[in-house]
């Protein structure tokens, strides 16, 4: 044995990292004179303690699954797509245009078209940086982050102009038709006799996100283009030898990535807001990066990591209510600690754990 068993790599290491993050976060809470166990209790209770909490947690989870998958697809081609934020924003525009254009009779008709609208706009927004990277060598990190700003500006411009609901000063579009309203968990679970909070925003998009995760898994690990993406990501030089076009791989990986980021808008714009508003992405594009890194760019890991981040998000809001001494900034600090420990510092714990495993293995062999 020369490396860590897979289960330890995928399960044990993240768990230890989360535990470490909570210990350090607890010390921070202790330092401001609050009880860290209360903090953890309220966070978990806020996220999972009620069907309303679960509804919000799953709503955020859905957003993060989409943006996490988006980042992972590009990352498998070693393309650091930091533009999920802008691609999601444009995805919102795509979905909104489709939903505003037609008076949809039923959500089952609206959804597929809205998905296409969101995906095409998200992919389109990723296509320009992709082209610049593939053909002109402009670094994808620079261009995608610039496109976040441009994207936000485009949405802001349209919501203050062409798309603004007449007769109001708020930068938002008019609401979509009632027929375009997606079923919430409350409506989905009612026929089975399961009571679920009525106002929680979790909706059918969650299932769409899970389906997307399965499709991304098939794409990356089972399809030919996925093979080419992984080959390019692991060894860009070798693809020349194998006759794999780096231009093609770069553009396809970024298109899929942008489309997935754009689909986040289905959950948020179509599922919750039911109209296009400014800043609906709320940083989900960036959190997707942390989600994907923590999930080791693997769809299964991403779903789990997205759920954890959904909990953190929702639990953090509840925490502010329950413990007013803990400010919004403090909640951000706690969330940031968890991101740092689970994302950036993975190898800090991985290497010592690997050494322990090797030593145990050697002792057993001896």
């Amino acid at each position: 044995m020369t490396e860590l068993p897979r289960w330890a790599d995928v399960v044990l290491v993240p768990l230890i990292n989360i535990a470490l993050a909570f210990i350090v976060a607890g010390l921070v809470v202790l330092a401001i004179g609050q009880n860290p166990f209360d903090m953890m209790y309220f966070m978990v209770k806020g996220a999972l303690g009620s069907s309303s909490g679960i509804g919000y947690t799953l709503y955020y989870t859905t957003n993060f699954i989409f943006t996490g998958l988006a980042f992972a697809v590009a990352m498998n081609a070693k393309l650091f797509n930091i533009g999920g934020e802008g691609q999601a924003a444009l995805g919102g525009l795509g979905a909104a245009l489709v939903l505003l254009a037609v008076d949809w009779p039923h959500w089952t008709l609206a959804l597929p078209v809205a998905v296409i609208g969101a995906a095409v706009f998200g992919a389109g927004w990723a296509a320009i940086p992709a082209y610049l990277q593939a053909k002109r060598g402009s670094h994808i990190v620079i261009t995608t982050i610039m496109f976040n700003f441009i994207g936000a500006a485009v949405i802001g411009y349209l919501l203050n102009g062409a798309l603004k609901k007449p007769g109001q000063q708020v930068p938002e579009s008019r609401s979509f038709s009632d027929g375009a309203s997606l079923p919430t968990f409350h409506e989905m679970l009612e026929p089975f006799g399961i009571a679920f909070n009525k106002s929680a925003p979790a909706n059918v998009s969650f299932l769409l996100a899970i389906a997307a995760a399965v499709l991304v898994w098939l794409l990356i690990w089972r399809s030919r283009i996925g093979y080419e993406i992984r080959a390019f990501g692991n060894s860009p030089g070798a693809t020349l030898y194998a006759g794999i076009s780096s231009v093609r791989v770069t553009i396809i990986a970024m298109l899929i990535s942008g489309a997935l980021a754009g689909m986040m808008a289905i959950n948020s714009v179509m599922g919750q807001q039911e109209r296009l508003i400014k800043d609906f992405v709320e940083g989900a594009g960036f959190i997707g990066i942390a989600v994907s890194l923590m999930g080791r760019n693997h769809p299964f890991g991403i779903v789990l990591a997205a759920f954890l981040f959904g909990m953190l998000n929702q639990g953090g809001f509840e925490l502010m209510w329950e413990m007013p001494e803990i400010s919004r900034e403090m909640v951000l600090v706690i969330q940031a600690l968890i991101i740092i420990f689970t994302g950036a510092l993975v190898n800090m714990t991985r290497d010592p754990i690997e050494r322990i495993f090797l030593r145990l293995h050697k002792k057993r062999a001896a």
Binding site: T2, S223, Y227, A231, N234, A238, Y241, G243, V247, H361
Partner: protein, 536 residues
């Protein structure tokens, strides 16, 4: 009479990396004023041992004595203080600095550079006088040949007052003539009382220059003998642990119809440098054409053009019809469709994806093969795995586990993976670059047999190698490249290393006498072409 203390004595050195024991209880005595060879296959532990001596690693246990005194060597500064100098296989030189600046670098006397440079200039003059190590102190590293660069490395060590010199695979990048030069310098250093440790896997060098030789195998020192008391066959056996065939066993070629015709091929790279100049040749079925030359004289580009990822002008016919030379991104695919297979020079960066498992690598380049697809969208991983296992068994890849990552295999087994993938496709034309670079002696024998088996099946083979032994042993015809041109063609039984060495230095009238200086100047130029390319 008191016995002189050995210059270096290692007692019971052991070192493990995780579960791998790189050095097991190694003891060795190197007497002052001798050249001591350490020979062994890749991964035998030679480099680890020398890294311990030079302070890069700390031994888990064991003692080091320098000139009879027990010495701790926690880092390379301590090694330098103890009088040990190291010449690495890959030079540690700043290319845009002058020779003088490189010699002084890290050994400056104070904050201001000028006094050190003045002192170093004097020192270099006297070192040149004492040891015949002539180098222009003001030349930039990027302007001098590989052999000269190596001298600079030796000068660096001597400038730091080294009495013990360790050379790690010093001839890997040199032509035979340059290697001879190096050996003359080493002999001179020995005469002046320096102690030299020569690490190599080439038996010929050991026999030629060393006084004593130690053999390492799998982390252990298996023997230390006087060079005069041994012979290459004996050493090879001790290295590998079984009898090996040192020469290539093959029958005369039976050439058939022409498979490849290359006409007036020219390659200009993206930096605008003319790499391949008017190259023409033919290869028939059942024939191996060996392409010799110092690394970086156009051979790599030639392989890349034929392999489909470099653009060229001219004409290449395979089985009578032309192949596309525009160098489009996915030409590698069209080459495979034309029954051209390619074992690239750099298996770690081109031939394999080190993080991919063996079965994923077996599909690399052949991932469009219909047999590998489950349906229009998905690949058939089960079939690829089964195919991989069968090919691994036929090519004796150890361990024959398709799920193991490429990086977990030894160099020889990695190369067998690539060869299995390419040869099992039964190509009409096989391009092979450096087939045995970094490969163990045991595996070399097998690899050569496989290449010859493909030849005997009537296929055309283009072999590019910087190892002249390999070129002479495998080829049915030999072409020598220098500065992008083919300098001449020879038949292996009608030529020798000396003649090929002259051709590699760009000297075509091989019958005439040539002064050492003339050959050296030419070689510097051959190396110059290599360095500009940046992969020498």
């Amino acid at each position: 009479m008191t016995e002189t203390a050995p210059a270096i004595e290692l007692k019971g050195i052991s070192k493990s990396f995780g579960p791998v024991q790189a050095n097991k209880d190694i003891s060795i005595r190197v007497m002052p004023g001798t050249i001591h060879g350490i020979i062994g296959e890749n991964g035998a532990g030679k480099s680890t041992l020398m890294s311990i001596l030079y302070g890069f690693y700390r031994a888990d246990s064991g003692e080091i004595f320098i000139n009879g005194r027990k010495t701790e060597i926690p880092d390379s500064q301590a090694a330098i203080r103890a009088g040990i100098g190291m010449v690495f296989q890959h030079f540690k030189l700043v290319k845009v600095f002058s020779v003088l600046e490189n010699v002084v670098l890290g050994a400056e006397d104070g904050e201001m550079l000028t006094p050190s440079l003045v002192k170093a200039r004097d020192e270099l003059t006297s070192l040149a006088r004492d040891y015949g190590l002539n180098v222009d102190p003001d030349a930039l590293i990027e302007e001098i040949g590989v052999g000269m660069q190596q001298r600079v490395e030796i000068l660096k060590a001597l400038y730091r007052q080294a009495d013990i010199l360790i050379l790690d695979e010093p001839t890997g990048v040199l032509t035979p003539a340059e290697a001879d030069q190096l050996f003359r310098i080493l002999a001179r250093l020995k005469d002046e009382g320096k102690t030299i440790i020569l690490i190599t896997h080439k038996l010929r060098e050991i026999m030629e220059i060393t006084d004593t030789v130690s053999v390492m195998r799998r982390g252990e020192m298996t023997a230390t003998v006087k060079t005069a008391d041994t012979n290459p066959t004996d050493l090879a056996e001790r290295m590998v642990g079984r009898k090996v065939l040192l020469r290539v066993d093959k029958t005369p070629a039976k050439p058939r119809e022409t498979i490849v015709q290359v006409r007036n091929l020219n390659v200009t790279d993206s930096a605008g440098v003319h790499r391949v100049k008017d190259v023409s040749f033919e290869i028939r079925g059942g024939e191996i054409l060996g392409l010799a030359g110092v690394a970086g004289n156009g051979q790599s580009e030639l392989l890349e053009v034929l392999g489909g990822y470099e653009a060229a002008t001219g004409e290449v016919l395979v089985n009578g019809s032309p192949i596309d030379l525009t160098g489009a991104h996915s030409d590698g695919q069209s080459r495979r469709a034309r029954s051209i297979a390619h074992v690239p020079e750099d298996r770690q960066h081109e031939g394999l994806i080190m993080n991919f498992q063996a079965w994923e690598n077996m599909a690399f380049g052949y991932h469009h093969d219909p047999a590998y697809q489950r349906n229009r969208l998905l690949m058939d991983n089960t079939t690829i795995r089964a195919d991989t296992r069968a090919k691994m068994e036929r090519f004796d890849v150890r361990p024959p586990d398709p799920d193991l990552a490429a990086k977990s295999f030894s160099g020889g087994n990695q190369q067998k993976l690539v060869l299995a993938r390419e040869i099992e496709r039964n190509p009409d034309l096989l391009l092979v670059g450096q087939p045995t670079r970094g490969v163990d002696i045991g595996a070399i024998e097998f690899i050569h047999q496989q290449i010859i088996a493909l030849r005997d099946a009537g296929k055309a083979i283009l072999l590019v190698s910087v190892e002249l032994d390999e070129i002479l042993g495998l080829s049915d015809r030999i072409a020598v490249m220098f500065d992008g041109r083919i300098m001449g063609e020879r038949l292996p039984h009608e030529t020798d290393e000396k003649e090929l060495g002259l051709l590699m230095a760009g000297i075509t009238d091989t019958e005439a006498d040539h002064s050492v200086a003339e050959v050296e100047a030419q070689l510097a130029e051959a190396g110059g072409a290599a360095r500009k390319e940046g992969r020498a």
